[in-house]
Amino acid sequence: MIRAGAAGRGLILPAITLAVWEVLSRAGLEDPHVFPPLEWIVQTAWTDTVHASLVGNLLASLGRCAGGFVIGGAAGLLVGAAFGLSQTMRVLFHPLFNALKQIAVFAWIPLIAMWFGIGEASKLAFIALATFAPVLVNTEEGFRRAPAGLLEVGAVLTLRRLQVIRRIVLPSALPSIMTGLQLGLIHAWLGTIGAEFFMTAGPGIGTFVAEGRDRFQMSQTLVGVALLGLVGFSLQRGAQAFERRVLRWRIA
């Protein structure tokens, strides 16, 4: 009963929002292109799904996001591991990385667009860049956090360096690495949205949203934005489920 009540109360604000929206558009108080009646929005979602433009755009965005995530994630894992394992690497390159990290990631877009054009390559490069930093930071932290006690056990057993890494360092780094990959995925999706807003060539949900704005079609924009949120939410949930599976062997 209590839970049903809580869920019911959660519906109050959305219901009010929808009602105000509907009144604004029906009463002609606002431009119906900006506040279209709810019916139009549902209709847009339906026709665009049926006519496959939405599905095609969605698939294009997801593919792009996955591609950038794989490239940026792999690079982040590699450099993060190098930073975590070698003090020389860390001392030499960490300050440079820290300095570059200060630049707000979207500020790279004009540069990337000048180097790679405004096609697919630029978008992939930007998404990879957005993924890179969080993966690197968390991978490094994981590698450096191997418990001293276990490392001593390794020393007692006279494990070779590679064995120490495989049996001790890597397993204790895994949770942090998973956090990094999860953050990286969120950033990859943020990067996908940004890339598609700024470089509007080719299909994609971001392009779909921007196009809705250019055509002054609020219903299209709104459907696209809802989809942006839905995809972000699903990616996050998926990553969490994956993390739980991978880390199942851990106690608690």
């Binding site: 009540g5 809580a6 109360r9 959660g10 519906l11 109050i12 604000l13 959305p14 929002t17 292109h33 900006v34 975590g84 394992l85 070698s86 003090q87 020389t88 001392v91 030499l92 960490h94 300050p95 440079l96 300095a99 570059l100 200060q102 630049i103 707000a104 990631v105 979207f106 500020a107 877009i109 004009p110 540069l111 667009a113 000048m114 180097w115 590698f143 450096r144 490392l151 001593e152 390794g154 120490v164 890494i165 360092v169 943020l190 949205i193 940004g194 807003f197 700024f198 949203v209 921007a210 704005r213 609020m218 924009t221 709104l222 934005v225 809802a226 942006l228 949120g229 972000g232 939410f233």
Partner: protein, 261 residues
């Protein structure tokens, strides 16, 4: 024993406090060679001194100060609005389960879309004027501040509330004398995330829809094919972002001096 590779002694001897400069200097040297020897055309990679002189020109012409001030003004207003809303919303939800039940579902749903995702939609509603920038930045700052304030308010120890009950504090007194002081560290975590987000959103919104500001300078440099200008502005954006975060960290340390660690 550590997991770190133990480097040969000669490497370790060379490794000193200044070693962090080696890679940047090497990069700079490589960059300089690549551009002056014509390995890469100047439109693709302008020489470092071109970037430096672009920066000096920007400074001398006053364009840099003017646009940076516009950006800073936007980010201050947007961040202030977003942070105030976030602290209010977070505290309201933290203090009352009922409020949380009403507000949280809509908040969570809206927060699934990153602030920059709302830009085209906001453009339709409020146009591309100054209010667009402020709203987008405020939204970006609001989400982490709300979530952290909520978590902070929830984490206030029961005992404090009981003391408040003994003193017969009103709701307002509970908020000002117990909840806010006790959740300052968590609120500040939210504020720092919020400011980083706000700065990121500022750059995004100025790239997309602005005719002034640092983000606009980037767009302008790109349109003029002046890569030296683009790189110089990126440098300014990096330094400013860093300074903003460092400033907030400084305030945080000052405010929390009274706390026993």
């Amino acid at each position: 024993m550590s997991a770190t590779v133990t480097s040969p002694p000669w490497i370790r001897r060379t490794v000193s406090a200044l070693d962090g400069l080696i890679a940047p200097l090497a990069l700079l040297a490589l960059w300089w060679f690549a551009s002056t020897r014509g390995w890469m055309p100047e439109q693709v990679l302008p020489p470092p001194d071109a970037v430096a002189s672009a920066l000096v020109d920007l400074w001398n012409s006053g364009d840099l100060t003017a646009n940076a001030l516009i950006s800073l003004r936007r980010v201050s207003l947007g961040f202030a609005a977003g942070a105030a809303a976030g602290i209010g919303l977070g505290a309201a939800m933290g203090l009352s389960r009922r409020t949380e039940e009403v507000v949280r579902p809509l908040f969570t749903a809206a927060a699934q879309v990153p602030a920059i995702g709302w830009i085209p939609l906001m453009m339709l509603v409020v146009g591309i004027g100054e209010s667009l920038k402020i709203i987008v930045i405020a939204v970006a700052a609001c989400v982490p501040v709300t979530l952290n304030t909520l978590a902070g308010a929830r984490a206030v120890s029961r005992g404090f509330y009981e003391v408040g009950a003994v003193f017969r504090y009103s709701r307002r007194q509970v908020l000002w004398r117990i909840v806010l002081p006790a959740s300052v560290p968590q609120v500040f975590t939210g504020l720092r995330f919020g400011l980083t987000n706000a700065w990121l959103a500022l750059v995004a919104v100025e790239l997309l829809a602005s005719s002034e500001g640092l983000g606009y300078l980037l767009v302008w440099g790109r349109q003029m094919f002046q890569l030296d200008l683009v790189l110089a502005v990126m440098l300014v954006i990096g330094v400013t972002g860093f300074a903003l975060d460092a400033g907030l960290a400084f305030v945080e340390r000052r405010l929390q001096r009274w706390q026993t660690p």
